[in-house]
């Protein structure tokens, strides 16, 4: 800038020497606009019309304005004009930098607020998540409780149903399982064919076994001591087979059924009375308990 002003001075001298009137005319018409005052004014105008910066550094802005006005007013001495334009240019730049600093400080405050809001959002979100997790856990617990209740109810119903079925069968629970005693009224004396009246009891048995397909049954035939052992053995076996056939005819698979003749070997009562002998003539059905408990 300094060298420029010297250059300008020498150029002016040359012009004075060449054509004094021309120089004077030029100075009078457009005094020293090329010194930079106009450039400084243009820069200041741009700064003043920037909405983000115009009002941020009032003092520096006033100084810049004053310096530009001073530079614009200078039209006597070109060197001085160039100097004043330089000062004006620097002051406009300084005002811009001050305004930018002010703007940045405002932005910093906003960034601080933004950081707080990010933190707050994150905390809110975490709380929401925690809350929804609690709600989910609670709902799951409720479902589990309902399931457990339902399972318990079902188990109770099943136990009740079993008991009802057992009662229906008039079976008695023992260590071997449920024991159902079919009296000799099912059979005519000495015969192994089932009486018509027997079907009621056997229907219930078949129904029970169909209802609990994991249970199997042992069918044992027993007699009193009337007749030979061999005869009684054969008779008891035939009667047991007869019951097995009936059950197979009602949908129970043969692997679940075992029929055995026990003859007169396991009397329930003494064979010396008619009542005792009647008790001894029987078919017992032992329904085993299923492996897993209910």
């Amino acid at each position: 800038m300094n060298t420029t002003s010297y250059f300008t001075r020498y150029r002016a001298k040359t012009l004075i020497a060449a054509a004094v009137s021309l120089v004077l005319a030029a100075c009078a018409a457009a005094p020293l606009k090329s010194t930079g005052a106009a450039d400084a004014r243009a820069k200041l105008t741009v700064l003043q019309s920037d909405a983000n910066l115009a009002n941020r550094a009032p003092l520096a802005m006033q100084e810049a304005e004053a310096a530009v006005v001073t530079a614009e007013a200078s039209n006597t001495d070109e060197e001085q004009a160039v100097h004043l334009a330089y000062l004006a240019d620097r002051k406009v730049d300084t005002a811009r930098a001050r305004a930018e600093t002010g703007f940045a400080e405002d932005q910093l405050a906003k960034l601080g607020e933004q950081r707080e809001s990010i933190r707050l959002d994150a905390r809110t979100r975490e709380a929401d998540i925690a809350q929804s997790q609690v709600a989910t856990a609670r709902a799951e617990a409720q479902v589990a409780r309902t399931d457990a209740d339902a399972a318990r109810t079902l188990a109770a119903q099943q136990a009740e149903e079993l008991q009802r079925q057992i009662d229906e069968l008039q079976a008695r629970p023992t260590d071997r399982g449920l024991v159902l005693t079919l009296g000799d009224v099912l059979f005519r004396s000495g015969m192994s064919d089932l009486n018509a009246g027997a079907t009621n009891s056997l229907e219930k048995l078949a129904s029970f076994l169909n209802h609990y397909p994991d249970r199997s049954a042992i069918i044992e035939g027993h007699t009193d001591n009337v007749g030979s052992d061999d005869y009684n053995q054969g008779l008891s076996q035939r009667r047991a087979d007869s019951v097995k056939s009936y059950l197979m005819g009602h949908g129970i698979g043969s692997p679940r059924l075992a029929a055995t003749g026990m003859g007169e070997s396991q009397p329930l009562a003494g064979n010396d009375s008619a009542t005792g002998r009647q008790q001894n003539r029987r078919v017992e059905v032992i329904i085993d308990n299923p492996p897993p408990a209910l």
Binding site: T94, A95, R98, Q114, I129
Partner: protein, 132 residues
């Protein structure tokens, strides 16, 4: 250093004044050095240096120093008008260096803050995404 370079301003001042003898007399003798201007420039440079202008506005600070040195040279050569101009320009350069340093520092702080915010935002998004 030589008299010829001082002649035009003096002649001009003399021509511009009509009848002020005192002023003519003062102009005829060597004008006083612009001490206040040079001191102000020096102070402005110190302020700029304190504001880390060496790092953030090195060109402006260098210009201010060079012009202050030239101004002192001009005083030595009794070129007081040139010395005063150079001093004023030096001060304007130094003040600009200070202002630009402040602006650059503020911008750096904001940039860091913004990066921090972006990182925090991403982190919170990732965390909530992971736990969902």
């Amino acid at each position: 250093m030589n008299e010829s370079s001082q002649a035009p301003p003096r002649l001009r001042i003399a021509a511009g004044l009509t009848g002020a003898l005192l002023l003519v007399a003062s102009c005829a003798s060597t004008p006083p050095a612009p001490i206040a201007t040079l001191q102000a420039a020096e102070q402005a440079i110190l302020n700029a240096e304190r504001g880390d202008a060496g790092r953030y506005a090195a060109a402006e600070l260098a210009a201010a120093r060079t012009k202050l040195a030239s101004a002192n040279d001009a005083v030595q050569e009794e070129e007081m008008i040139i010395a005063k101009r150079l001093g004023e320009q030096s001060r304007a350069d130094a003040e600009l260096a200070s202002a630009r340093s402040e602006a650059a520092k503020a911008a750096t702080v904001n940039e860091e803050m913004k990066r921090g915010n972006d990182a925090l935002f991403e982190e919170t998004q990732r965390n909530s995404g992971a736990s969902r």
